[in-house]
């Protein structure tokens, strides 16, 4: 199970990194979303893996609640950040007329 989770995190981070390096705002947003999945999972597993042990007292062994609490707020804030980025990209498109991250017009420059 550990190896599977590690592979999942690796793929999420890798695809996230690749997309973050693209030239247009939209793939960058996708990339950041993928990266935050990966990072959230990474923080979450710092409490180590456990199956059928929710962090609820009174039901036998409980998994580590602290990373879960951290990640819960991280998910919500991550969403807020994604939304902010999306709107920033829209505003950028409105101001510069292009969705290139460097604000370059479509006709000039390499991507």
């Amino acid at each position: 199970m550990e190896a599977l989770v590690a592979v999942m995190i690796a793929v999420l981070v890798g695809t996230g990194v690749y997309l973050v390096l693209r030239a247009r705002t939209f793939p960058v947003i996708l990339g950041i979303t993928l990266l935050s999945y990966g990072v959230n999972l990474f923080v979450f597993i710092s409490g180590r893996l456990a199956v059928n042990q929710p962090a609820i007292v009174g039901n036998g062994p409980a998994s580590d609640p602290l990373p879960q609490a951290l990640v819960l707020t991280a998910i919500v804030i991550g969403f807020a950040m994604t939304a902010f980025l999306v709107v920033l990209a829209l505003r950028g498109q409105g101001e510069t007329g292009t969705d290139h991250v460097d604000g370059k017009r479509d006709d000039g420059g390499e991507g």
């Binding site: 592979v7 693209r22 939209f26 996708l30 999972l41 602290l66 990640v71 998910i75």
Partner: protein, 932 residues
């Protein structure tokens, strides 16, 4: 504690003059406001000073960053007292002098503010009892002297002089910091008292040469010792009161102060002798000789200052106790006569309009009173008997004869000392003869010169009177202060010495006589000497320094232009490449040797994991087909939620699931305006490069994740698990952490959420975006009404969803759920109405403005926190009790629930604020199209 207040006073006082200036106070009131705090500090000094004269050391301590060993610790011993008196006393005289020196149109408020800042910094340096604090104040003196030297910022020389002083002394300050950190390592504490007591340990340590080198770099740059002396003459571009203050009693004396302060710690070794006395000797001779050839009045004084600082340094370098006493004595004497000379030079400049000694001649006729004062001060500088300079110079000559370190070469020291004395007499003679006699003034800008205002002379009179008083009656005037200062410097008992004018016929006296006669002889040959000097190639330190600086700046900007090319894409690549590099360098296979028991892998998990991998890869590969990418991204998000379910984190799963829906909506809305397809524009090399980065970073993080999961650890969560029920009244530990244990963090997080929502609102205001009227294939967008099926299904769903969200909210404290999740579910339910029925339909039924919801949510959370203050508990302490409701049974009511309602409202408000505004944007766009 008086001591800490004392240091604070000048800083407080720095506010007053600008305030007075703004209120339109007269120049006199302005100056009085500047003098107020230093005068008060001087009065406050009386109490502790008494204790110091009784042989005590006064301490004050305010903890600051104890974990770093940094504390606001002050000490007042004899040495600190001496310098505090100089700093405050001469500072007050300079303020009085500046009152008349600054012309009416100059910004006196600002000037005095800078001066007081500097005074405070200087006071801090001399009274610090903590090495780090000392360095802090030391840097403050560099900064504030920069402001003072560059006060006439419209002059290029002032700007360059200030910059040079700042660069040189600032670099020295960094070296000093490094030295002090090493001292702290050796001693094990940054307390000055501990360090002074550990002199033997420091000298024995292998780090001693390094410590000494670094500390001396700081000292030599500050005190303008060879080879760092060149900044001081350029600092003469400052207004003369600044020069009188900085170059007599304070700034440059900070260096020699540190020599005295660290004397018990660092002195006594051959290395100390060699480096310190050599630098001192070269500086003494260089400065004295160069001073004679300056035609600028202040230039002469500047080089003379360098020379006298060299003398003091040389004395400290001699490693004998008597020499250290003489050095402290000369610090006092130099401060008095040099401050008065600078002031006299300023008066002459003021009255004649020039400082060129080839033009200022014969002033005796025009300003005899000033002339007498200046002549007495110059005589003190030359070391004429009956004046203070004579006494310390005599001691200096005597000490150079005592040193045996150079063996057969020992005659070099007295010879050099005498030679320095000769030049010092010569330039003093020039100051007197050239300026006040030597024919008539030549073409003065202001003619005829006359005596300055009465009170402008008072500071000079006081200082000159001190020179004479100390010179004639040393045992009555100065010996007490000198004794406490010198014993503090030596850190113990004083050697036997005798301050008196007459020691009988001896070798030092002969050296003095030689110096006096030789100096007069050299001065009489000045014209021939000047001609020789003219023939020497000119070395302008300023040009060399500026040239090097500019080359450095050019190189730096070339480098930064290469790196900072305006492309965010390339910055991201650099950053990630660095991450990849760190991963490659630091990750070794050894991290995979974790001993933790692995969980078995089951088929369902494997399938889900495979789905995630495939979906993520599809997102990355097909990202140019944006619709497809959004779909596969959602699939990734769903598998992540499933992973949370499987791995015992139901709260996270619920959160992720609801966030997934909101994100999907968000991206779809954005798609409305963004191009449907991404152009293919990355070339293969770049794609390949990014793939390598992606593989390295992804792989590295995966390895790290595996290493972490397979290693054992100590969690701090035991406390939360143990106390959730008893302390927070809930069994769902995740929720109890969020609303109770770490409630303050959550409060911060929902605040961020609210700010992000407001930011989005602001970004969307007045945004003029036109979506394409057709898709990429040229087909026009569908203009259908909202699909009936969706409308019909979504409306009854709303109350159901709201009910569920209430349920999720209420049970959150004990079972998976809570404010965050309930808020997200409510948001999704409302957003569904937007999607199904349109913005207009929803806003006819709901207030379209979500700002108040965010505000109420944050307020509620905040008030819950504040309320606990009224019960005498810290912010956000929660309390709870159990209630019995018929049918429902026993359930628990906690004040944390109120906080959770705040969270709930903030989440709902923020989410809707974000998405509804984005949705409205598309509605506006539709209207614009219909209108067109």
């Amino acid at each position: 504690m008086t001591l800490a207040i004392l240091v604070l006073l000048p800083f407080l006082g720095a506010v007053l003059p600008p305030l007075a200036e703004r209120l339109g106070a007269s120049r006199t009131v302005l100056s009085l406001s500047a003098a107020l705090m230093p005068a008060l500090a001087l009065v406050l000094l009386i109490g502790p000073a008494g204790a110091v004269f009784d042989g005590q050391t006064v301490h004050a301590l305010v903890p600051w960053v104890p974990s770093l060993g940094l504390e606001l610790a002050f000490r007042l011993d004899g040495l600190a007292l001496l310098f505090a008196l100089l700093v405050l006393g001469i500072g007050l005289l300079v303020i009085l002098y500046a009152r008349y020196y600054l012309s009416a149109k100059e910004k006196a408020g600002r000037f005095f503010a800078f001066l007081l800042l500097f005074m405070g910094a200087m006071l801090g340096v001399v009274t610090s009892d903590n090495l780090l604090l000392l360095v802090l104040f030391w840097e403050l003196t560099s900064l504030s002297s920069f402001l003072l030297i560059g006060f006439w910022s419209h002059q290029s020389t002032a700007r360059k002089g200030a910059r040079m002083a700042m660069t040189i002394t600032g670099m020295g300050g960094l070296a000093l910091l490094a030295g002090v950190l090493l001292i702290g390592q050796v001693v094990g504490s940054y307390s000055l008292g501990d360090a002074l007591a550990s002199g033997d340990a420091i000298r024995a340590s292998g780090l001693y040469p390094l410590i000494l080198g670094l500390v001396l770099l700081g000292i030599f740059t500050k005190s303008a010792q060879f080879p760092f002396h060149f900044w001081l003459p350029h600092a003469m571009a400052a207004p003369t009161p600044v020069s009188a203050y900085l170059h007599s009693a304070t700034m440059v004396k900070a260096g020699v102060f540190l020599l005295a302060r660290f004397y018990p710690m660092l002195a006594g070794t051959d290395l100390w002798f060699d480096v310190v006395s050599l630098a001192g000797m070269i500086t003494l001779l260089w400065g004295a000789a160069a001073a004679l050839f300056q035609h600028d009045l202040k230039g002469l004084l500047a080089y003379s200052t360098i020379s006298h600082l060299g003398l003091i340094t040389l004395l400290f370098g001699l490693n004998t106790e008597l020499a250290a006493v003489a050095a402290v004595f000369h610090i006092i004497n130099h401060a008095t006569f040099k401050a008065s000379l600078f002031m006299a030079a300023g008066i002459i400049d003021h009255e004649t309009g020039t400082r060129d000694m080839r033009r200022i001649n014969g002033l005796w006729k025009y300003m005899p009173y000033t002339a007498v004062l200046a002549m007495v001060a110059s005589a003190a500088m030359a070391g004429v008997p009956l004046l203070n300079g004579f006494l310390s110079k005599e001691m200096f000559f005597a000490e150079t004869l005592e040193s045996g370190r150079l063996g057969a070469m020992s005659w070099v020291l007295p010879l050099g000392a005498t030679l320095g004395g000769v030049f010092s007499v010569a330039y003093s003679a020039r100051f007197i003869h050239d300026v006040f006699f030597n024919g008539e003034p030549v073409n003065l800008p202001k003619f005829p010169p006359h005596e300055p205002p009465r009170y402008m002379k008072v500071p000079v009179e006081i200082l000159v009177a001190l020179c004479v008083a100390v010179g004639v009656l040393p045992s009555i005037t100065v010996s007490g202060l000198l004794a406490v200062a010198a014993s503090a410097t030596l850190g113990g008992d004083l050697p036997a010495y005798h301050l008196s004018i007459w020691h009988g016929f001896n070798l030092p006296l002969l050296m003095s006589v030689v110096a006096l006669l030789g100096g007069v002889a050299v001065y009489s040959q000045r014209n021939w000497l000047f001609r020789q000097y003219e023939r020497l190639p000119e070395i302008n330190a300023n040009l060399i320094f500026e040239g090097r600086m500019q080359r450095l700046v050019r190189a730096a900007s070339a480098l930064s232009d290469t790196l900072r090319n305006g492309s965010l894409q390339s910055y991201a690549a650099w950053l990630l490449a660095l991450v990849a590099l760190v991963l490659l360098v630091y990750l070794s296979p050894a991290v995979l040797d974790g001993q933790r028991q692995l969980l078995p892998l089951d088929g369902v998990s494997l399938l889900a994991g495979a789905m995630l991998v495939v979906a993520a890869l599809i997102t990355a590969i097909l990202h140019r087909h944006r619709m497809t990418a959004i779909m596969s991204l959602s699939a990734v998000g769903l598998v992540v939620s499933l992973a949370f379910v499987r791995l015992s984190a139901p709260d996270l799963a619920l959160t992720q699931l609801s966030v997934e829906i909101v994100t999907l909506l968000l991206l779809m809305l954005a798609m409305y305006f963004l191009p449907v397809r991404t152009q293919m524009e990355s070339g293969w090399p770049r794609v390949l490069r990014d793939m390598v980065l992606a593989v390295v970073i992804g792989g590295g993080v995966g390895v790290m994740a595996f290493a972490m999961m397979t290693s054992d650890f100590q969690s701090i969560s035991g406390y939360f698990l143990d106390n959730a029920k008893s302390g927070g009244g809930g069994t769902n530990v995740v929720n109890v952490i969020l609303v109770d244990f770490r409630g303050f963090d959550t409060f911060g997080e929902i605040t961020v959420l609210g700010i992000a929502a407001l930011g989005i609102y602001a970004l969307l205001r007045d945004l003029d975006l036109r979506s394409a009227s057709s898709d990429s294939l040229g087909r026009p967008w569908a203009r259908d009404a909202h699909p009936l099926v969706l409308v019909t299904i979504s409306r009854p769903l709303l109350p159901l969803a709201l009910l569920i969200s209430v349920y999720i909210f209420l049970r959150g404290h004990n079972l998976p759920g809570g404010g965050f999740i309930a808020g997200l579910i409510t948001s999704v339910a409302l957003l569904l109405q937007y999607v199904a029925s349109g913005v207009a339909w929803v806003h006819r039924r709901l207030p379209g403005d979500y700002h108040p919801v965010v505000a109420v949510g944050l307020l509620l959370a905040g008030i819950t926190g504040v309320a606990s203050w009224f019960f005498g508990h810290p912010f956000l302490t929660s309390t709870f009790d159990y209630l019995y409701w018929p049918l429902v049974g026993k359930f628990e009511v906690a004040s944390a629930m109120l906080f959770d309602i705040g969270v709930f409202l903030t989440v709902v408000g923020a989410t809707l604020l974000m998405l509804a505004n984005l949705g409205k944007l598309s509605m506006l766009d539709d209207k614009a199209k219909e209108g067109a």
